[in-house]
Symmetry: C2
Subunit: 213 residues, 2 copies
């Protein structure tokens, strides 16, 4: 597609960066990785704020552009690489985006480290990290499970090819595990996870593979 280097400003445990790693992997795009350590506050360093005034990862340098916001990046990759992350019909695209946003707008932002930390600190410990995470991840995934009760659901969230909703689901399930949220009542999600776990791009994007030594 391009001979320019693609660079991902990444953090191994960021769900948003994890989404972009999956998308790049599904497309077979190689990239250089630069770690922005969120636990050390590197996202607030002037050089990172110059890249992204929001002080967030990921930032993807590609095609001579510097892109922010994981879902904007995934849609960009889809549009410019004909990736099939979204179906070809408008109704299908609306369904896939709604599924993606049910995670990316309803669960993930609330369980962002910055937000959860603010809740625990501002509550002087009355709110625990675990309590906060579980209060939002469990019902959010239950709603997602109910949305999957639809004939359009296939091997993956929409049909039989992995797309935008799956790209959002994988990191959310990593976080569900991390915070002890059980998927016992969510058979559709469990089946899709099993299918996703067979994809090399999903395996390769796992946080453990991107943890700095």
């Amino acid at each position: 597609m391009t001979t320019m280097t693609t660079t991902l400003h990444d953090y191994w445990r960021s769900s948003a960066a994890y989404r972009v790693r999956i998308a790049l992997g599904l497309l077979g795009i190689d990239w250089d990785s630069i770690s922005v350590d969120l636990t050390k506050g590197e996202q607030r360093a002037p050089e990172h704020l110059a890249r992204n005034p929001q002080g967030l990862v990921p930032v993807l340098d590609i095609d001579g552009l510097s892109l922010t916001q994981s879902l904007a990046i995934v849609e960009y990759l889809d549009e410019t690489r004909d990736a099939g992350f979204l179906p070809s019909d408008a109704a299908g695209r609306a369904r896939v985006r709604a599924l993606a946003y049910a995670i990316a707008m309803e669960i993930h932002p609330v369980c962002n480290l910055r937000v959860a930390r603010h809740a625990t600190e501002a509550s002087a410990g009355a709110i625990t990290m675990e309590g906060w995470m579980r209060a939002f991840i469990a019902p959010g995934l239950e709603a997602f499970e109910a949305m999957l009760d639809d004939p359009a659901t296939g091997r993956f969230c929409h049909g039989d090819t992995p797309g935008l909703a799956d790209i959002c689901l994988v990191p959310q399930l990593y976080n569900a595990d991390r915070w002890g949220v059980s998927l016992d009542t969510m058979p559709r999600i469990r089946a899709i996870r099993e299918a996703l776990d067979t994809l090399p791009a999903v395996v390769a994007a796992h946080p453990d593979r991107h943890k700095p030594a």
Copy 2:
């Protein structure tokens, strides 16, 4: 476009519903409104959960479809009505989506009534609604202001026609006012707001015009 009735399951003070009202208005689409009173828990009634298992507004019935998630709805309207809510180039679309998500993923979900209430209740009052809202709205809008420091910004967030980012900005500014967040340090946002406030669709979508009697 269609002779079927378009119905919006709406709540006057929901930012997400407010976005869809603006989009419908910009497109000149007439709609019937059904109020789902979030303060009375009507979003958790079985009939609403059948419409949207997430228990959220808006739900838009249009073209024989029942659509959820405000940004999925706005993108659907854009694609099916050639609305111009997103620019025609992929780089421009990535910028507009990043701006939209800087609000719709970084600020709004955290300041959702359900989340803010959980924070105040679980903290036994150590966290106040005002404190919570200000902690996230102010820095989020400051980052948005910095993102607008770009030659692509025009009379509106991207060029001279209102689009997806503007549709997200309007309700966020309503909430900034509501919670006493000052825009004094945000001249670009203030200028865009002034331009947006001249649009009949923006005026007509204002919560005060949709408050049940």
